[in-house]
């Protein structure tokens, strides 16, 4: 009788450890794909690429819902997640310094997080290509 009980406990421990291992593995994979560092880099390069392709007068909307979720988790204001200074775009979803990438198109760009009627962020960012730096 005692022997059977020992085997049962061993089996349960074995199954729990297996489940734990698989859960950690899945969580690790999910976290890697949507990590702050990866998303900051992806968004900043994406923004730089479409700014390079754009001409003055254009307006571009970018869905940054994943980034919004990260800012909510880290307590950062989503409205300050994208900063464009000169020809550099910096995307920051956490407390770190964010990720900066340069674009070669010499235009003035404004970046604003879109809000709904209730004043809540929709997860979209609106980029307006105002004019080139020579003002033409």
């Amino acid at each position: 009788m005692k022997k059977k009980g020992t085997i049962l406990v061993e089996n349960i421990v074995f199954i729990i450890l297996n489940v734990l291992f698989l859960s950690i593995l899945i969580l690790f994979l999910l976290k890697q794909g949507s990590g702050t560092l990866v998303l900051e880099q992806v968004y900043s390069k994406e923004i730089a690429m479409f700014v390079d392709s754009s001409i003055s007068g254009m307006e571009v909307k970018l869905d940054m819902e994943k980034g919004k979720k990260l800012t909510e988790k880290s307590g950062v204001d989503f409205g300050n997640a994208v900063i464009i200074t000169g020809n550099f775009v910096t995307v920051k979803f956490g407390e770190g310094k964010g990720y900066t990438y340069a674009f070669f198109n010499d235009v003035v760009v404004s970046a604003n997080a879109e809000k709904d009627n209730m004043g809540e962020y929709t997860g979209m960012y609106v980029f307006r290509i105002k004019e080139d730096r020579r003002g033409t």
């Binding site: 291992f21 890697q32 880099q41 390079d52 000169g86």
Partner: protein, 178 residues
Amino acid sequence: MRDKRGTDKILSIYWFVVLTLIGGGVFAMVYVFYGPPYDVREIESEIFAGRIADCLSRQGTLNPNLFVEEGFNQEIGNTFSEDCNFNFNVEEGYGDEIQYFYKVEFYEVTDLEYPVFSFYGGNNNWEMDCYIKKENSKEYRKLAKCTEKRFYALDEDKNQHLIKILSVIGKSEKNAKQ
């Protein structure tokens, strides 16, 4: 009956060794996939070449600023970057080294071997990277990415020209694993 507890324990240890190996493998694969930065230089150099082409020609006609009475404007290379709204400032990590290069060559349709006029801008140290045969190794991935674009256009006198554009993006620190 034989006591199989010893065998079971060995099997369990073996099983966890296997799980550790699988876990290590998955970790290594994820690191290899997400570790290196996303390389956008090819797209960037294509966009850059497209912008240069837009600046040289509109609807198949070459920009009149490219010409003076005697022929091609030899001074165009000095002002082309500014006229086309290119800003070559780059992130802090690169220091003062410009990470862009472009070269424009004009050919007569009767002689497509030797250009009749050419000019360039940016950092010409990057040009050589375009002529090195690229292999899929770490060192080669650090080389600049290049795009060559060709198109035909007419000047104001309806003479046809072939224009070749070479655009190059360095920026390996931000786009390739160091």
